[in-house]
Amino acid sequence: MNWLREHKILTAIVSVLLVLTMIIAFSNSQIGNSTYLGRTIAKAMTFVQEPVSNAGSGVKSGIGGILQFRSILKENERLKEQVSDLNREIIKMRLTEAELEELRSLSDILGYEDISLRYSYATANVIAMDGSNWFNLFTINAGTDDGIYKDAVVLNGDGLIGRVLEAGPDWSKVISVIDESNSVSFIVFRDMQLLGILSGDGKGSLEGYMIDPDAAIIEGDLLITSGIGLYPEGIPIGKVTGVEWNNDTLLKTVTIEPSAYFKNLKKVTVLIKK
């Protein structure tokens, strides 16, 4: 005891180190399951972060609007042209509406189950990001009150984002697919017989391999989820940027550029099983 009294600072440093190491070890064994205290802190922080995030987003778009006035005018012109093109498309679509009805009745006869019938969805705003520059974990302003649960699939207009790591009443912590240690099963959109597995590559992107080493996958192929495992089928994941034969593993490996841009997420959709 005397030694401890004489070396107070050293004792304090070692104690803090030990406590923090124990917290890390305990937390690592309980990933995604915060304590009551953790949930309370997360809830309180969400309450503060939401208005600040909205204000920051508003300021950014305001400043951006002033600085990019000319480019916005050009974009406006381009969008007007696009609107007229889309209007023409709508007219064409109306013509094929009857055809679609026929196909729907055919799918009912065949017993095909549409993804929209199995899932409902909740849209949410991204209110805070981890700010670590390495990872892409973020908090959204929807939680268990909106039907969101742990491992619910998160996506946006571009494609797959990730899954819910933890959900509170009005907030959820989301982990992106590029930080995910779990694997995701994919198929190639061009030829849906080509099946593979991908995961984060530890460099802020995705890499994977084909189940069939002779699979004719090429650069530029769009990959979508296969429906095996956690993620429902048909969600765009990304485009193949490289295909290589690995002599060590005797597998065809692929590098993938994700469809979604993770650093500037604003709105996401969470799929909720019905």
């Binding site: 440093i13 803090v16 180190l17 923090l20 190491t21 917290i23 890390i24 937390s27 690592n28 990933i31 995604g32 915060s34 953790g38 802190i41 997360a42 922080m45 503060v48 972060q49 600040v52 995030s53 204000a55 920051g56 987003s57 300021v59 950014k60 209110i127 805070a128 990001m129 981890d130 700010g131 670590s132 520059n133 390495w134 990872f135 974990l137 973020f138 908090t139 790591l165 912590k173 982990i175 240690s181 590559d201 530890g202 460099k203 802020g204 650093k263 500037n264």
Partner: protein, 178 residues
Amino acid sequence: MKYRYSLLSFLIAFILQTTVMNHFSIFQMSPNLILCLVVVYSFLYQGYHGIINGILFGLIVDVCFAEVIGIAALSNFIVSLICIELKRYLNKDSLISVVIASSVGTMAYSLLYWSIYKMLGNDYDLMYVMGKEAVLLIYHILVIAIIYQIISHSIIKHHGDRYMYRGSLQEARSLDRK
């Protein structure tokens, strides 16, 4: 410096870091304001502001965002100890010393964070992390230099006096006793 002021500054840094800074990132990088404050409080101030708030806000960041809780807290703690130790060898009145402290702090934080993640079985590429460090280092040096310019008037009592002892009263007394 009172602890409630340092706590408030850390709270503001945390909120800004997780909400606003993402909107103003450069090269997809935004500064870790909490780490900047850990370096500033540990290197420039007396007391344990950097250590206590670094651990506290490291834990809050981990609770809110990380898969594993405690990594940021442990990294902040060790960075704070390193910066306190650096005070023995560097003159804190000089901006160059502050630049050195912020560089060492940033590198140490990233290496610690990466090492702990690696030990827990995550396969994050070291070269990817270090590649990002260059931009982050410049960012942190700038942020810490700006903070230093703002607070230096309260730390350095007599700017124009080259011969005046510039440490705190506590430091002067402890030197006198020796």
